[in-house]
Symmetry: C2
Subunit: 262 residues, 2 copies
């Protein structure tokens, strides 16, 4: 798994799965910029593609949010034909995003896709941007959970929330609501209120760094599903998470590096 | 918690806590570059400071790895005197790094520190870089756990590992070993072998993207503490994590977006 093996050793086209971060250019790494610049063809969910500056001669293939596996297959077939392809992904492609879909498509697709020069380009995932804006709520042990039951039964989600609360993890929630699932986030908060004190801080972060940024801090007892939309990342503190009030400034939320009696 | 409140509204100096990512310039975001460039004084653990290009007239204050709170206090005092200060942090400052220490110092320090213009600049944290190099092992629900018992009792760590395994989380381990704690990682693997199948993939990732990069993939049954050092980030798959073999290329490790019977 060294650079020579991963980046060389094939002439059958290239595919990069590129994390754009939370959306503002200031979060885009030089590696991601270079991968986008180099690509002959860009694939991705329309709102992510729209964030990439147009370059003449570069093809664009936009798709719907729900067609991940089909989109991955189309991009891989294009790369296998010899093209330099970039699949754009919001945040980090490895966190509830396109990298797993691309690799699943490789696993189930034609053998030649396994010979492709594949690079996953990491990015700033939503929870890191929201945490940075709020302080350091993920400063100690934490978990990241998708609340979507499109791809797993809701019972698994409830079990994971309970075990995570019992473990003392702070938690970041991705995909907290959708039009098809308006009530599940309220149920998630109910489950957590059975396991955690009502004073545990909950952060709703949306569109960090963009003009329509919205940050909201409430105690768990007051957390409600209508406070989030599809683009919100939610961070629930651990029992150790603290709030530091600042006169005239937003409070800072942080989880100390110390836990238990140590 | 909007931009005006957080970035303006004070004249008492500035402090940015800046995530450098895993170490290579290609991971450094434009926001981080700008914060480093703007700073009049840099604070940080020596090996991180050494990654920042020297700029004439910019002061540097290097410190030992174990002096986090003292380092944070010195940087805050400097900022409170009116300077533009950057505290550099490896990876993401909010994940087992300097952001929580800086906010803890603010909480326990003089009231004027609460008036400082504080910005946390997110970065690519180690687990995202290691995951990207290996495939998408964090492609579904996962947790991040520090294995250091400097700041929490070892019993809490074992409990968290068991609950995380029962929850079906993939796991990323930070601070897996140190000279003072050579045997605890072996104990952690023992605990996990009691909860998980021996076939679960374990990835040891070190110095991703650097000339001395080392990636290693073993089944849990063969995972041993000596395979890691202080700078290693370890990813343990979930029971759903899969390996895709590639002729002449490293295998890809990914956790499918689908879980349970959905």
């Amino acid at each position: 798994m060294n650079a020579t093996l991963t980046f060389g050793n094939t002439t059958a086209g290239k595919i990069a799965v590129v994390g754009l971060g939370p959306g503002e250019p200031r979060f885009l790494t030089p590696q991601a910029s270079a991968a986008l610049e180099e690509a002959e063809a860009l694939y991705g969910y329309m709102p992510y593609l729209e964030r990439v500056p147009v370059r003449e001669g570069q093809q664009r293939f936009a798709s719907d949010n729900r067609e991940e596996l089909a989109r991955a297959g189309a991009a891989l077939a294009h790369a296998a034909a010899g093209a330099k392809v970039a699949m754009v992904s919001g945040g980090d492609p490895g966190v509830f995003a396109m990298a797993a879909a691309v690799i699943e498509a490789i696993e189930t697709g034609p053998a030649e896709w396994r010979a492709l020069d594949l690079t996953i380009v990491p990015g700033i995932t939503a929870m890191l941007a929201v945490a940075a804006r709020a302080g350091a709520p993920l400063g100690h042990d934490f978990c990241a959970v998708s609340l979507s039951d499109n791809l797993k039964p809701w019972e698994i989600i409830e079990t994971r929330l309970r075990l995570a609360a019992q473990a003392g993890f702070a938690m970041a929630f991705y995909n907290p609501v959708s039009k098809a699932r308006p009530h599940q986030l309220d149920r998630a908060f109910e489950v957590l209120r059975e396991e955690l004190a009502g004073t545990v801080p909950v952060i709703f972060g949306r569109a960090v760094g963009r003009p329509d940024e919205r940050m909201r801090l409430v105690p768990l007892t007051n957390a409600r599903g209508h406070m989030a939309d599809m683009a919100t990342c939610i961070i629930v503190g651990s029992p150790e998470t603290r709030i530091v009030e600042r006169p005239g400034l937003p409070a800072l939320v942080y989880t100390p590096r110390r836990a238990g009696d140590a």
